[in-house]
Point group: none
Chain length 129, copies 4
DNA sequence: GTGGTCTAGACCACG
DNA sequence: GTGGTCTAGACCACA
């Protein structure tokens, strides 16, 4: 894996270290990071994105305590081989549920139809490809 | 308007005052709160939801400074009568865009198809009705 | 709870933040900290033990992510009310198992009898009261 | 001595080199390794346990600097013949003291009686025989 | 080379 | 008042 795979948005209200953890969670769940794969070093990620190494270290540490990553002493952090990788589609969808529930509630408050919301979402997902 | 119309989730990472402001924004944009309508007092909202009155006051103050609400001396806060209410559908959809963009990005990281995500969203929007 | 209840050994190889978390785990499991009880603030603990507030904050954060503590926004950290508190004696004993297993293995390597080890342990536990 | 006599737990938080040194200390103190006995080569130990040779070398070096081992030029490392071997029982018990003190403190924090802890320890020492 | 810990201090967000 | 985030930099431990 390359440090450039991670996307960091420093201006986001979401803390950087959590952005990293959640991206890792998704990339691992989808198999884009496969079990055993070595992650870029803390210093590489920090240098590439111009953030503090401790911020990256904090993210890696959290991901480890969640069982997403494991520490190979002297080598770095690797994707854990605990079955967290390559979830089924329904498992991956479940990761989106909290966000989608919020969207559903907000749409209701806005009195928007499911069709209108979905057309908009479809457009955004097409654009992003 | 009744204090029970607002939904507060004290355990959410979203700060309470922002939950209130954003809900007001959506309820006003959709016309569920109409211009001139009087809001429940800070004390009522705070008492009903068992939250700190200062939090409600802060939300009302922010909403006022955005032009969503206006302060009627001696009567309380009311929905502003300056055209913020009853947005068009496209304006209301725009309020959902940031969230939908995030959903799109996360879906990409999870390698989920637009169809699968939309089916899930459709189900959630149906359920919530 | 008072900041003086925690014991910090800065010279120990065990990191300070983990000393705190594990002590909290034991004090909660034994009911010496009861569910809902407010912990001393990060700044109080840091000041009392002359350590960096971030170190304490890190410990509290970890304890929260383990479900031991919960954040009361604006009030501080409190012992979680998730049933982690007041474990049965067998549950509390289980928390000592890893250490006791290591003791057992080391005693074997030292060719020490169970009786000799236990007499020593009994003396130490008596002294500490 | 055979490389298989050492027990290595790569996943333990205890560093590997220290696991080796402390095991050597205990095996020598108890006379299971006798003075003058030749140890397996760095390469053998590293190969057998699939760990880095440098780690084994570091452990041997530390043990030598402590006087546990001595370097026989051209032959390898051997158990030192300077009275470190076959300690008395009280000397061997002293090697366990730091661990037992920690157990005593944790038991106090868990409000466990000396009897309960000792029954558990007795069971573990019996099992491991 | 790897990650981990701690400090000192600034600044923010929340109630 | 509370905790949270981030930075900059030093130092350590491990392989």
């Amino acid at each position: 894996m390359d440090a450039s795979l991670l996307t960091i948005q420093p201006a986001s209200p979401e803390p950087i270290y959590r952005q990293i953890v959640e991206q890792l969670r998704r990339l691992i769940a989808s198999g884009q990071l496969h079990a055993g794969e070595l992650l870029p070093s803390v210093r590489d990620v920090a240098g590439f994105h111009a953030i503090n190494p401790m911020t990256v270290s904090r993210a890696y540490g959290l991901a480890e305590s969640e069982g997403l990553l494991e520490r190979l002493r002297g080598k770095g952090m690797a994707v854990a081989s605990n079955g967290h990788a390559t979830h089924s589609q329904s498992q991956r969808l479940a990761l989106l549920d909290p966000q989608l529930s919020a969207v559903a509630q907000h749409a209701r408050e806005l009195e928007l139809s499911a069709d209108a919301v979905m057309r908009r979402l479809h457009k955004l997902m097409g654009d992003s490809k």
